[in-house]
């Protein structure tokens, strides 16, 4: 039996504010309430795949690194599968440092993920950014610089992102780590998606 629909209106977003760490990263706020804080480690010691370190800054429209933001990361495992195998949750939370603004996390490089129509997405991290002054969380992606051939056929990067803005979604290799800066506003503004 099909019951009549009674649609609801989506709850409006509000900024996470400057004290977001109390709720989502309490240890950083100076609180030890939970035995286990969520999202600290993306990959455990047994997780298969190539280990990668990612770091960067989030800059505001004046070019200042912001120091009170949180980034959530969602990604596939090394085989391109999403959601939870061998200690790999695929999800993590990382804050920008209160003093320097730098963020960093360790994970494994995701595999290629299938997309609609038999296409394949290039390895990417899905990112959601929130902070004081951000009224609704910002969706973006980080791609890896060595996958340039896969980028050319990636349905998101080549399908939606204008050529002259694609670089904003591709990390830079620096020694053993990847550097990915996010620019909220201005000349080098990062591409954000309405997903």
């Amino acid at each position: 039996m099909i019951l009549p629909d009674t649609p609801k209106q989506e709850t409006a977003s509000q900024t996470a504010g400057p004290y977001v760490h109390i709720g989502l990263m309490p240890v950083m706020a100076g609180l030890s309430i939970y035995p286990q804080e969520l999202g600290r480690a993306l990959a455990g010691p047994d997780t298969q795949g190539e280990r990668v370190e990612v770091q960067g800054f989030i800059f505001d429209g004046a070019g200042e690194a912001i120091k009170d933001a949180i980034i959530e990361v969602w990604q596939a495992d090394a085989e391109g599968g999403l959601a939870g195998t061998d200690g790999f949750t695929g999800w993590g939370r990382v804050a920008t440092d209160f003093d320097t603004g730098v963020f960093s996390f360790e994970t494994i490089k995701p595999g290629c993920v299938p997309a609609q129509g038999g296409k394949v997405m290039a390895p990417h991290l899905t990112l959601w950014i929130f902070a004081r002054g951000i009224n609704i969380g910002l969706n973006t992606r980080m791609y890896f610089p060595q996958d340039s051939q896969a980028h050319d056929i990636d349905p998101v990067l080549s399908g939606y992102v204008p050529q002259d803005r694609r670089d904003t979604l591709i990390a830079r290799r620096e020694g053993d780590s990847y550097h990915f800066d996010i620019h909220l506003q201005g000349a080098r503004e990062t591409v954000f998606f309405d997903v």
Partner: protein, 240 residues
């Protein structure tokens, strides 16, 4: 595992990125429009959490930071349901909250407001919704507090909420306010919500039915996440 498609987000209910009266948004709002894309499996999937990580006591803010006794303040129960836009419950999803204490002070390294900390109040809680999408927290009603926006700006009493849902594209952070608060009409963060109905839905009504006599007053706050809207021509899979 099949993933439901998501309809486009209803931007009419959300505050715009740039709300100039909320000063910090001026330099933190993208100037370029968002690029619309069809969500892929990367956005239609999302993390899950279970009782191994989230315990029942995590939802009791009267007890979870106890050092010498109970926290000072108005004892309240905050309860509600997490639903999608089709009014389907969202079961077993993570709800996280944080708030100031009764005097408007946050337990955070960066809060320097001179109202005192409460030694028995931390201000964070979390819960998994049950099979009906319901959650419940025990806490104290937070106080209003001043903030450096205008020369005399005060946030209304509020509790911050973070909710996951089943798709990363449903991720939502919002704030719950309290019925009858006269500061709501002055708050540029609350007033940035463009839609009158959406604003009203952020204000939790007093709920005497769920109050516990001689213990705690209840407020009800339902949260609606993005969710597939069925169309008359769509095949209805199980559970839709």
């Amino acid at each position: 595992m099949s993933k439901r498609a998501l309809p486009p987000r209803n931007w009419q209910v959300h505050p715009p990125a740039l709300a100039p009266a909320y000063k910090t948004s001026r330099l933190r709002a993208p100037a370029q429009p968002l690029i619309a894309m069809d969500p892929t499996i990367s956005e239609l999937s999302g993390p899950t959490f279970g009782p191994a990580q989230i315990t029942v006591s995590d939802s009791d803010l009267l007890q979870n930071h106890k050092t010498t006794g109970l926290p000072i303040g108005e004892r309240i129960i905050v309860h509600g349901r997490v639903l999608d836009e089709q009014a389907r419950p969202v079961p077993h999803t993570l709800v996280e909250i944080w708030q100031a204490n009764a005097s408007g002070r946050y337990r955070h390294a960066n809060d320097s407001y001179f109202a005192p900390l409460d030694p028995n109040f931390g201000g964070c809680g979390r819960a998994l919704t049950d099979q009906d999408g319901a959650f419940r927290f025990h806490t104290i009603k937070p106080g209003a507090y001043p903030w450096p926006n205008g020369p005399n700006s005060w946030r209304p009493a509020h509790i911050h909420f973070s909710v996951f849902g089943t798709a990363f594209a449903q991720r939502l952070i919002t704030q719950m306010y309290f019925e009858g608060d006269p500061l709501l009409k002055l708050c540029p963060i609350y007033q940035a919500v463009p839609d009158q109905r959406a604003k009203e839905l952020l204000v939790a009504p007093l709920d005497m039915e769920r109050s516990e006599p001689f213990d705690s007053i209840a407020y009800r706050f339902d949260i609606v996440l993005r969710g597939a809207r069925s169309t008359p021509f769509e095949n209805r899979p199980e559970g839709n």
